[in-house]
Amino acid sequence: MLPLFAALVAASTAALIFAGGLVTSTGSGLSVPDWPNTYGWFMWAFPMSKMVGGIFYEHAHRLIASTVGFLIVVLAAWLGRVEPRRWVRRLGYLALGAVIAQGILGGITVLWYLPDAISIAHAGLAQIVFCLTVAIALATSPGWTRGYAQLPTSNSQLPRRLSVTDDRTLQHMAIVTTAVIYAQILVGATMRHTGAGLAIPDFPLSFGQVIPPHWDAKIAIHFAHRVGAAIVTLLILATAGHVFFHHGRRLELRRPAILLLLLLAVQITLGALTVLSQKQFFINSLHVVNGALVLVTSLALTLRAHRARFIDAGSTKQDPAYDDSQAARTFLPDDARRAKSGEARDERAGVRA
């Protein structure tokens, strides 16, 4: 039940980011001048009939944010009660702290008339909250706790040319890729909140040339986002290529690598359409939330590449889920039976007891 709830919280955080993207894309950030009230009403008592124009986007964002905040409170408390791994519990508390800080930033940015720095920080912290909820969902997922299945080989020998545990190259590549994607999102947020989204009005060229023929601060930040996109593309191609070549049978790595490539293609398309459509608000917001999905997919790949490092991390007891022989095992029909019977869960319960 906890893994399902954690996944629900992560999904709701993605929805919240999309709602936040709509607020900025429609220019509705100040359509509700007060906070935490809405035109003097208690937030949840504000009449639906009055959710018109920009209020619809801003107030809906506040309602969704409050709901997500409540879900994260429940998640943190739940983890605090049942989760044996200290680092996972800490992730829950961190997510709770981050979402409270995020709510305060959101309020401050309204009361202070959307100062760029606060709005960019609000956008950046949103991604951190999303990363934390995804990390919790991943860490509590059955695959993580029981060990991931692997594609069977045509011969009897396991294709462990490089084990995940030992593949420092993949671990470093994944970390760098995730960090650069986050930096790229921050550059994108800066571009959005400083009104530089159409500073270069054409795509893929810039004023008809590869390099902009003239510069100002807005053109520079916009062009930096395009250069960042190229760097992110190369890093994702390299990381995914490494996974396919060296860990082709590890589904827990191959799947996020494939997803990363798909999301990257969608993201570049949405970025181009954002410019070509003159920042059509829906396309623009999809670009924001898809960027967040690229980030958390890369994060999932990174965490899975480092999974063996989490053995016993922060816990005084050994969890059988982290038996490295299980982490690298081939998929056996018996696994399905184990999963169904809850045998693995019983093992963990035994350890806790």
């Binding site: 359509s31 935490p36 018109v52 124009g53 920009g54 409270i100 309020g107 009361l111």
Partner: protein, 263 residues
């Protein structure tokens, strides 16, 4: 025991979150008028002598083919759609003979250190039919600006000055009035409603009464000027600004024409 502690922790976390949320309120006070303590004139206000005062008048025209106003999509608020169906953009209103409406014409320079009495009558900016009326207005430092919501829908009045203090005031109830004063000269201050993205207005804040906004016929008149040489500026939100020097003697009238050209 563990369960009890954890439930307590949950309650404490909720309470803390609630307190943090509730501590940040009070925006109505925050968005109070920026220049409520408006500066009083340092010297005695100059009296306008009607016997010697001069007049600068004229017309603002547009040369070329003016852009046609475009319809505004009001579907995001059913009230607006019903109240003002067919509303068109006001950014470039050019009438017969190229007359340009909504040009703010004012004395930019030439008055020296003279000070003038601040009127106590408010300038009214109305929100009616999801549209600011008038679209362009002038006001003096310290003169009350009365912002009225004549609509039975919510508006927020968001002033975005650079020299004065930014403010954002919600007006959720029909008939609501907000009074605001400005403390510093500023041409022009944009106003907008973030609820209805198409609503915008412009306000010119001056330390003297010599300003006018062109009507549908493009004409303006600056009356009561002391004799002297002045820089007259014509400002338009889309077409930009133009300035002209003009010298007027006692009880003299001079005509000044401004012509904006299309892109």
């Amino acid at each position: 025991m563990t369960r009890r502690l954890n439930l307590r922790s949950l309650a404490a976390a909720c309470t803390a979150a609630g307190l943090l949320v509730s501590c940040g309120g009070g925006t109505n006070q925050t968005a109070a008028p920026a220049g409520s303590g408006a500066a009083a004139p340092a010297a005695a206000p100059a009296a306008i002598d009607s016997a010697t005062s001069a007049t600068v008048s004229g017309k603002v025209t547009f040369a070329g083919t003016p852009p046609a106003p475009s319809p505004i999509k009001l579907s995001s608020d059913p009230y607006c759609q019903k109240a003002n169906a067919g509303l068109m953009t006001e950014t470039e209103l050019v009438g017969p003979g190229g007359a340009v409406q909504n040009v703010f014409v004012y004395v930019k320079d030439g008055l020296g250190d003279k000070t003038f009495t601040t009127p106590s009558d408010p300038v009214v900016l109305d929100q009616k039919g999801c549209q600011y009326t008038p679209h362009v207005i002038g006001i003096q430092i310290g003169q009350p600006l009365q912002i009225l919501n004549s609509d039975s829908t919510l508006h927020n009045v968001h002033g975005l000055p650079k020299a004065n203090k930014e403010f954002n005031q919600g007006q959720p109830i029909q008939g609501m009035k907000t009074t605001h004063t400005f403390s510093t000269k500023e041409v022009m201050i944009p106003f907008k409603c973030d609820v209805h993205g198409w609503m915008n207005a412009w306000i010119g804040v001056l330390d003297h009464p010599f300003y006018a906004v062109t009507g549908a016929d493009g004409t303006f008149s600056l009356k009561g000027l002391p004799p002297g040489t002045y820089t007259i500026e014509a400002w338009h939100e889309k077409l930009g600004t133009q300035t002209q020097m003009v010298t007027v003697g006692a009880a003299e009238s001079r005509d000044v024409a401004f012509t904006f050209k299309g892109a």
